[in-house]
Amino acid sequence: MARYVQKSSYESTHLDNEWIILNTDDYTVTKLNDIGGFCWSLLEAEQTLESLTQAVGREYLETKVSEREIEEFLSQLMECGLVKYAV
């Protein structure tokens, strides 16, 4: 199963339940909502779709997030140059 991890420990800023991640290699900023920011902070260590989906389920009892949505989110983070496959 694919494992994902932060590409680098980029600086993040937390403002009113939103997160801004600063990619200091490409000089880009990415804004995440609360759940996105939660996932980002977990990605400091290697994660799988399953581990992330379960963690979100435990943390946000009210919100249903599927593995598919997490996968989409991760592919967006990869496009933004924030996350990579762990080798």
Binding site: T13, L15, D16, L22, T24, Y27, V29, K31
Partner: protein
């Protein structure tokens, strides 16, 4: 060589130049104080005769051992890692103004003191209000329509950013309206990111969106991850402390009714 002592923001700047024109320019545009300071924050030597007249805003930054170079077609800044000692080579007064802006902005970011924001700033009832936005959105119009309110800047606003407190200093970096040379410092009460519109109304921006929109209004030439982080940290403090609005702005002075 004559030395000039100027006050910029909270900082004392020692300037030395052999050029009469540049000396006049500094005396006209900066708040000069007599006598000397024993320990200036910034020392600049200015030399005339570099490059060609203004081509564009592209600045190339490069690092060589102890030195950092900022090169534009009409100026070259040779400085050190903490920006305290610099030599500026400028083609003309316009180039010199922009070079000093570039240098001062880098200095205040590096020393975690504050930011220089592309904006105008006016005083109303002892509080400062910033007008920023995309080019053409009405920053300078807002400045002109703010008369007779006192202006602290019409192009580049100097912000000192502390925890829980943001203070505006009179800016010598002007485009048209001359600085009054006031030594006043004024607390910042709001930031208005302007859009032009037929109606006057305004919304409070989310802090994260405010930060992202302000990012490209900072006079800053990215060349080190450490300094870029510093800019973000300062912007973070700024949006935590001061409300940012998203006003749709009609070209008349009634917008002040919404602000104060």
């Amino acid at each position: 060589m004559d030395l000039l002592y100027a006050k910029v923001g909270a900082h004392e700047v020692e300037i030395s130049t052999e050029s009469k024109d540049f000396k006049n320019f500094i005396q006209r545009n900066f708040s000069i104080f007599k006598g000397k300071t024993s320990d200036p924050d910034i020392k600049i030597t200015i030399k005339k005769g570099f490059g060609e007249p203004f081509v564009n805003y592209h600045v190339e930054v490069s690092k060589h051992e102890e030195k950092i170079l900022f090169r534009r077609a009409d100026y070259l800044i040779e400085t050190v890692f903490d920006y305290r000692y610099s030599v500026i080579y400028a083609h003309n007064e316009f180039a010199l103004k922009h070079a000093i802006t570039n240098l001062y902005s880098s200095f205040i970011v590096y020393h975690n003191w504050g930011l220089l924001i592309h904006s105008s700033c006016a005083i109303e009832n002892g509080k400062a209000h910033i007008f920023s936005g995309q080019s053409g959105a009405g920053k300078s119009t807002a400045a002109k329509l703010s008369a007779p309110r006192e202006l602290l800047s019409d192009e580049a606003t100097i912000l000192m950013i502390d925890d829980g407190k943001v203070t505006v200093f009179d800016s010598p970096f002007r485009s048209e309206l001359q600085a009054t040379g006031t030594n006043k410092t004024v607390p910042l009460a709001s930031i208005q990111l302007l859009h032009q519109s037929l109606h006057n109304n305004r919304m409070n921006l989310k802090k994260s969106d405010a930060l992202i929109q302000l990012l490209d209004k900072v006079f800053y030439w990215a060349h080190s991850p450490k300094e870029t982080k510093q800019v973000i940290k300062l912007l973070n403090k700024l949006v935590e402390t001061v409300p940012v609005y998203d006003p749709h702005f009609q070209k008349n002075n009634r917008f002040w009714e919404l602000i104060s």
